[in-house]
């Protein structure tokens, strides 16, 4: 089983994948996100940084409409995926999420076997016709998540029995098994130790060749290490967005500079 579709997409490098304009988010009476404009490119790792509560995770969750599951959240403005408004009435968020996958802060493997964890997405989306196809997807996803060698002998073991770093890579494998076009990662390393973090970061860099990756992170070092583009959020505003090197070395906004040099945080 070859990832033909995915490889085809790699050709169109650095095309704009997601366009967000004037995005506002309210949670009940709290105004969590104010007027955010961002273009996310394909084949790129985009990092969202900023102090806690700045709205970066909120914005990430807008990109695959995970905010829909929070009943008090209201989103306005437009977010286009390949030119199509994902908040359009006709859009089924379920179908959207198959294209825009997500990996969460805390590893959350399902209480099922490793195999079933990875096979879950392909199964519900009806991506495979036979057991052999499914096996192939599971294997390739685990390989892409750099987990295959560690688990290939115990695919039937429960996913919850793995170590933290392995669990998070399993969650990544689970997310890429549905062949998404965009992969959203919400602080994927915050619950991991440094060695596991290094492994996941390395993995993110490799994933860039096939997916557009958006990563929310607390750690500026991590943003600098893995991303090509960086967006800095502060108090619900998008303060600065640009090439990672530029944002870190010559920030245009004084707030960005203060944050990077450790004065706000």
């Amino acid at each position: 089983m070859k990832d033909i579709n995915i490889e085809e997409r790699v050709v169109s490098d650095h095309k704009v994948k997601i366009t967000a304009r004037g995005v506002q988010v309210h949670y009940g009476t709290t105004h969590a996100l104010k007027d955010v404009d961002v273009d996310i490119l394909s084949g790129t790792v985009t990092a969202f940084i900023g102090p806690s509560g700045c709205g970066k995770s909120t914005f990430l969750r807008c990109l695959n409409r995970m905010n829909d599951t929070v009943s008090s959240a209201r989103v306005s403005g437009s977010i286009l995926l390949d030119g199509e408004d994902i908040y359009d009435k006709r859009v089924d968020p379920v179908q959207l999420r198959a294209k825009v996958g997500m990996v969460f802060q805390k590893p959350n493997p399902f209480p099922k076997s490793i195999y079933d964890n990875v096979a879950y997405g392909p199964k519900i989306h009806g991506l495979t016709r036979s057991k052999a196809e499914l096996d192939a997807i599971v294997e390739s996803s685990l390989k892409k998540a750099a987990l295959w060698n560690e688990v290939k002998d115990r695919l039937a073991a429960p996913g919850t029995g793995l170590s933290g770093g392995q669990q998070q890579r399993l969650c990544i494998a689970r997310a890429i098994a549905t062949s998404p076009e965009v992969l959203l990662m919400d602080e994927p390393c915050s619950a991991l130790d440094p060695i596991a973090t290094a492994q996941v970061e390395e993995l993110i860099d490799e994933l860039r060749s096939q997916f557009s990756v958006v990563i929310v992170t607390h750690s500026m070092q991590q943003a600098a290490r893995v991303s090509q583009r960086t967006a800095f959020f502060h108090l619900g505003h998008l303060v600065e967005y640009g090439e990672t090197g530029q944002v870190f070395t010559t920030p245009k906004d004084p707030r960005t500079e203060s944050y990077i040099t450790g004065r706000i945080g």
């Binding site: 199509e84 994902i86 006709r90 294209k99 009806g126 991506l127």
Partner: protein, 450 residues
């Protein structure tokens, strides 16, 4: 859109725009809709059943608060009721209800004659049977209480027999009367005449709430008096016995109990007792309180003991929850200024937990009020037509309870008792609603957030 997907190769939905719904997605959304529908259907079933149940009970039972009554002047002939003519109460007591029945029958016939109501088609016996068999007893008690009534003619209102009552409420019809040995169509036709004459009419049935139970032949006279009194006695005793023990046990388990085997054993016991079938508590009551300790059968005190043991786990669970809800900072504050552990608990924790304990207690009592099975085993289902006396002695007198009365009426053959049974449920439900609403109001009023 759909044709595109059917033509697509290996992974059909990948080429799809998110703005259109793929065939696969349509199937999945349909499954989603069905699943949600099952959930709503399940809830609807509960609602419908609840609705049907309440509707049946109210439609059967509300008429129980109305009762067919006969009103006509009764001449208390002294010759029959006081043969010696000396108005001595003890001598008069020798005249049984049969004698009073004769007086009633004579007055009834006299009234019919006076009003020119034709009695043809109805035999003399059938005529008299229209008056409830309970009426002579009531008259006798009234005359014995006031012998000066002798010789007078008084306007009296008395119960009509159960079948006539049923006829007025639509339960008995001409068709059923033909097949019924206890009433004839002629009597029903005659009842119509009585209604026209204003002798027979339905009125509010106050006696239903105050009368004691009555035998199978007199459903019209059966009331809830003893049952309400018995239930009230039991609830009072449960309150006195169960709440202090429950609260004390909760305080110990929450605040003092060391983590050891004994505490574990107590905890396991409480959670298991909460799930033991109620009838087992009835067996316990029968074997220990009645057979071993020799407490009187059918008495409120035994009922209350059994129900207390059953309610104890509920009260303990509620009390512990509200004690646990008191934040540790309050304990620390009290301990920090040198209060003993005991003082902290009784001066600070307990008052703060009180509203929760109160609510839990009321809810526990509400469920105790409806408990039936264990009471059957300790003899509260027995026919009791004497009111228990006042406390404390009254706690040891035979009594019955509201839910048990519901059961015993439901198991009698006369359909008139189904009306009584449903009406008793209405009374029971009114008490339950009052208790629950009180609990809700208390909870709202004292709701505290830390």
């Amino acid at each position: 859109m759909t044709d595109a997907s059917s033509a697509a190769p290996a992974l059909p939905n990948r080429v799809h725009s998110i703005l259109t719904e793929s065939a696969d997605m349509r199937r999945r959304n349909a499954a989603e809709g069905r699943f949600k529908l099952y959930g709503m259907a399940a809830i609807a079933v509960s609602f419908i059943v609840l609705g049907i149940m309440l509707w049946t009970i109210f439609s059967d039972g509300l008429s129980g608060f109305q009762q067919a009554k006969l009103t006509f002047p009764v001449t208390l002939t002294a010759e029959t009721l006081d043969p010696k003519g000396n108005k001595n109460r003890d001598e008069m007591a020798k005249v049984t209800t049969v004698g009073y029945g004769k007086v009633l029958a004579a007055s009834f016939k006299a009234e019919l004659a006076a009003r020119n109501i034709p009695t043809d088609g109805v035999t003399e016996k059938e005529l008299v049977e229209i008056i409830s068999k309970d009426a002579p007893g009531g008259l006798r008690a009234r005359v014995l209480a006031d012998p000066s009534l002798l010789g007078q003619t008084i306007e009296m209102t008395m119960l009509a027999t159960g079948r006539i009552d049923g006829y007025l409420k639509g339960r008995v019809t001409m068709q059923t009367a033909e097949r019924d040995g206890n009433v004839s169509p002629a009597q029903l036709q005659f009842a119509d005449l009585l209604i026209d004459a204003g002798i027979l009419k339905t009125g509010f049935n106050r006696e239903f709430l105050t009368n004691p139970d009555a035998s199978d032949q007199r459903p019209e006279a059966a009331g809830l008096g003893v049952a309400i009194l018995g239930s009230a006695y039991m609830m009072l005793l449960v309150l006195i016995m169960c709440v202090p023990v429950g609260v004390a046990a909760s305080i110990y388990l929450e605040e003092f109990a060391p983590k050891n085997r004994w505490t574990d054993l107590v905890e396991v016991n409480i959670s298991n007792l909460a799930a033991v079938p109620s009838i087992v508590f009835g067996i316990l009551g029968l074997a220990i309180f009645i057979n071993f300790m020799g407490l009187p059968q059918s008495s409120s005190v035994v009922g209350a003991l059994v129900i207390s043991l059953m309610t104890l786990p509920t009260i303990i669970i509620a009390t512990r929850a509200s004690i646990r809800a008191v934040p540790p900072s309050i304990r620390d504050a009290a301990l920090g200024i040198g209060a003993s552990k005991m003082q902290t608990v009784f001066h600070h924790v307990l008052p703060l937990a009180m509203p929760g304990i109160l609510t839990g207690t009321i809810l526990g009592l509400a469920s105790a009020l409806g408990e039936t099975a264990p009471l059957l085993l300790i003899g509260m289902v027995a026919f009791v037509d004497n009111y228990p006396s006042a406390p404390v002695e009254g706690f040891f007198d035979p009594a019955t309870a509201l839910p048990v009365q519901v059961y015993s009426w439901a198991s009698r053959s006369d359909p008139a008792f189904i009306e009584r049974s449903s009406a008793a449920i209405i009374v029971l439900l009114v008490f339950l609603v009052i208790m629950n609403v009180t609990a809700i109001i208390l909870r709202r009023k004292f709701e505290r957030r830390w």
